[in-house]
Amino acid sequence: NIFERKQEARNPFLKLIEVGEDDVDPAKWGVNWPRQYDGYLRTSEPTATKYGGSQVGPEGSMPPQKADRDPWLRRIFAGYLFAVDYRDRRGHAFMLHDQEVTKRNVPGGKKQSGNCLHCHASVMPLYRRLGAEALPHGTPQEQVQRGLEAVAGMDYWDAHQMLTEITGKAHPVSCVDCHDPATMELRVTRPAFLAGMRRLAASDAPVPHLPSVEQWRRGSRSAPYDPNVDGTRQEMRSYVCGQCHVEYYCGKGMTIFFPWDRGLKAEEIEATYDGMTVQDRRFKDWTHAETGVEVLKAQHPEFEVWSQGIHARSGVACADCHMPYKREGALKVSEHWVRSPLLQIPRACATCHPYGEKELETRVEAIQDRHFALLTRAGEAAVAMLDALVAVRKGYDEAGWQEALEKDPEVRRLGELQRAAQWRLDFVAAENSMGFHAPQELARLLAESIDLSRQAEIGALRLLARSPTPAAAPGQNSKASPADPPIQPRSYCRRNP
């Protein structure tokens, strides 16, 4: 056949040694796949772009506190561990180390549960071990789930120690977390992701960027949606990242979960949390120290935000940009030095966008600069809101304020506004692409956040004006003026079901 191409004859996956489910040490895999291993190792190198990368100083130093650039972060996180220590992310090689040293998680502090390991360590052997002990006759999947729950009930450091005992040494994300050791096919392992996707598929939230979910929905639904069974190869190239780069809840006393029951949009996630009850109260992450309002915390919703962008819609996966193919001889290998695409524009972008490197960089910068200016504006609005709420609170004693927050409709409304405004702002700020993954959607969320913050400020001023001595009569002021517009934080969500 004259069309036959001169392919590299040798099998790219000629295995020199066998690897298995318990091989969390990447060095062993590196014997078979040295190119990928080389890239993987390099995630320990510091890199920097205008807004991304890991802006670290000399060897051994930590990335800067996020609040150094965005001081308003300290205000919105008042009373929460993120006000204490919250740094820029950096390469995968550091994930376990950074979790061990963060002040959010001090040994003996009993602040965190084993949940945290879900995304910072090659943790599956621990889940399997504990699951097998608890459910010796369960299916592997049942055992993993049970193991997950067991780890959730442990103190972080106990779980960490047990993992170390099982695997010899605890490792950050490793080959086995994304690859089936038998076939090297991509696969997802993390139970919270599997459960989250099951619930997302079962919902009716539109996910045009995930064709296999839409396909599953049209089918018999006899078995729940399973990324490893139903996902397309292109989807898997994002799913492996979606195991960790997502919004989650993993507070003590609960098993980690991804809140996708109603969809992946910020409002849909908010609705999921708002619909949850913990000890007879509406779900909260913490109580804001300055205002006493029960608020939510958003973490790195890259997968969710990517889902709202035009790239996802066009079938472009995380790995297309963050692990682009590179050429080694006649072979194409995936760059396993996972990092900012702006450090590798020709491969990451120019295969699809045939422009020069400088031009592509400028395009991203235009998006990011616009975004950053808006983010800062939203942060300032949030600070103004907090100042105003604090001023209102001054007129109450502690018990009076608690009561007002629960029973006085006007004060209550202030709390709702803060919760909604802060959720949107945090959701955008915690996302790591500085606007790039979905520029218009993120600008919309910031606009809403600004509006809600300012409305809270206005509400606070009205309250101050109306009841000059609120402390004296905190419960009196309880008829909401009919002129008050409804909060409608979810209007967009409802318009586009």
Partner: protein, 156 residues
Amino acid sequence: MALSALAGAFTGLGAFTFHYAGGFGYLGSDPATCAQCHLMNDPFDSWRKGPHHAVATCSDCHLPSPFVPKYLAKARNGYHHSMGFTLQPPAPDDPGARTVFPEPIRIKDFNSQVLQDNCLRCHGEFTHGIVRGSTGADHAVRCVHCHDAVGHGARR
């Protein structure tokens, strides 16, 4: 002039490349000769699936049609191709690798004009009203502005 350029091309073809590329096969019109170079595999694969597959080969689009310019362009491109292929480091994406040409490969002005002329060679009649003789660089309707997917599939 044509001859000396041709000669230049042959000197440029390193022994290995020349052999690898199928020797004189390079001078033919068979797409397989282009595809002998693994760098051409992607366009080749998608060309095979595209609507032009049945009507146009690589050289119909990428080489000038009249005999002499065609072989001159081949000489010129052959020189670039083989030099590039021979001198390009095997792992151009390795940090610090000193590359001879950027990857992904980008068409350059010279070949861009060849391409445009070839579109018009086949579709000139049909596009007569919109082109109006303006095929040069600055003031032309550039076919690939809209039809960049035409030879071998969409980039995006």
